[in-house]
Structures are given as structure tokens and as C-alpha cells.
Amino acid sequence: MKIACKNFIGAAVMVALLGAGYTASASAAEMNHHGAMSSDLRTGLNSLFREHVFLAAGATGAALAGRDGEFKAAAGALDGNSIDIAKAIGSVYGAGAEQAFLPLWRKHIGFVVDYTVGVATKDDAKKNKAVADLVQYTEDFGAFLASANPNLPKDVVANLVKDHVLTLKDVIDAQATGDMNKTFMAIRSAAGHMGMIADPLGRRHRETISRAFCEPIIE
């Protein structure tokens, strides 16, 4: 009983963190339903991560075509998406995690911009450096989430993010060729992949809460 109470307190703290801002419309009743909240997290992250791909593709496409005004607008919207993703992370792992996550997330966008500039200027050294930076970044991202939630193995997360980097690279490479069919196929593929990151994050979070409540996980 002692253990159960301890777990309940831990879960209650996590529930409180979840309710802190991720879903503005969440009612008190919803907060008591941890399964529904984990589902919200998964759905929310899926939506935000896919939006990330579409906005990033909009920004890189505009940059490669030299449409400066469009690039700036897309980059601004992309940063708004980054802030929302950080808020989603913060809703689960706290304000400190949100603050630490945002610059980490923005960092990879900077590397994608570097890669795009390398493609635009046909600078292979810049492209290679950007790819190396992005690969190193995946380790950081994996370590961050593993630290936030021990149920998220660093290597697994790092590999998922590596795939995101590669699928987004395919988008930029396709945009550079001017082949619109290839470009939009690549964008669909990159957006579709994001579910492979959001789903485990939501699922692992749900497992963490279920363990805290000593309840079985029912899919």
C-alpha cells in the first residue's frame, strides 16, 4: 500500500504537469483520465511534428527558389511551431524542460538551413558539415528525451530523429532538382515518418503513467 500511495503521488504530479498548459481546453475531468491525456499528447505531437515538416519544406523551397519574403514568413511560422512543440514537451516534463528543449530543437532547424544553403550554393563541404551536425544532434535529442523519461531509450529516439533528418534531406534535394512530383512525394513521406516519433513518445508517456498507477496498459 505504501508503494501504491507513493506511485499515486508521483502520477498525480505528472498529471498536474500535463495539465499545466499542453491542452488549453482540457477540463478537470479529462485530467483525471490519464489514458485520454496520453492519447491527446500523441495526437498533439503528431499534428505538431507533421506541421513542422510542412513548414520546414515551405521554408526550404522558398529559400532554394530565392523567394526571400516567403522564406522569412515560413521561417517565422516554423518557429511558432517550434515553440508549440516545446510547450508540449514542457506540459509533460515541466517548465525547465520546455526552456531547455526549445533551443535544442531550434538548433536542428539551423543545421537544416545550413544544408539548404549548401545545396543552393553547391557547396559540398557545407552540406557535409550540416549533415554531420544533424547526425550529432540526433544524439542530443535522444539523450534529452531519455533523461526526461527513462522509458525512452536514447538510441531508439536518436535513430527515429535520424530518419527525420534523412527524409527532410530528401525533400530539400528534390526541391533543388525542381521536380515537383518528387518533391511532394518526399514531403508526404517525411510528414508520414513523424508519426513514428510522436507515437512512441505518447505511448511511452502513457506507459510511465500506467506504471505509476500500477495499472495494465490496454491498447
Partner: protein, 136 residues
Amino acid sequence: MKGHWRSAAVLTASVLAGSSPLHAHEDCDDIPQKQSAVVASGESVGPRSQPAAAVTIQLFQYQPGQLEIKAGTMVTWVNQDDIRHTVTLGTPERLENLSLNFPAKGATASYTFDRPGVYEYFCDRHPSMRGQIHVQ
């Protein structure tokens, strides 16, 4: 502040429990893990009367981010993230001459701050990670 760092921040990680502190490293990147493990275990480190404080490196943050201590206090950092971090003195724009390296989860290292002042530090791999120590 550069001079302060060099002179005031004396590396005090002990080689063995109860042994004398080491003294000023020019390059602290190669601090042996064995030295700092003693600090992590909570066993005696340095002079018994020396005040001590701890900072945890977790979730890409120094916790606490700001620390107020008295001169002569030994601060120990512990890396709880599964990635390399550093405690590099100064800011990315204004580097100081010392850097503590925490190559992996569980790595620890310590410094004793002998002179009053405000000491800023950051992680050179993740420059958004910032910490500050106010020494009275």
C-alpha cells in the same frame, strides 16, 4: 573575471577518499573519472571543514542554475544526462580559460571558489545551457 577564474577556481577532486585536493589544472578536460567518483559517492573530499555545494546536470540544465555560496566552497557537478556536457567558464562570446568535461552519465568534477565574484559558465556542446555562481 578571467583572472579570478584561473586563480580562484582550484580543482579539488580527490584521487582517493580523504586524500589532499589536487591543485590548479591548466586543462581540466582530462579529469580522470576515478577522481570524481569519490565526490559522487558522498565520501569525504578535501579538508573536512570545507563547505560544499552540488549542481546536477540533468535534462540539459544545470540545477540549480544559480548558486550562491561563500568563498572557499567546493562546488561539485554531476552529469545525469547520457551525453557529454561541459562546465566551461565564461560565455560562448567570452570564453575563459577553464573547462570541466563530463563525458558521460555519472561523470562528476569539482571546483573550489576562493574569491568573491559572479562566475558564469555554460556547456560548450550545448551553449544554451547556462549557469551562474555568486561567490560572497
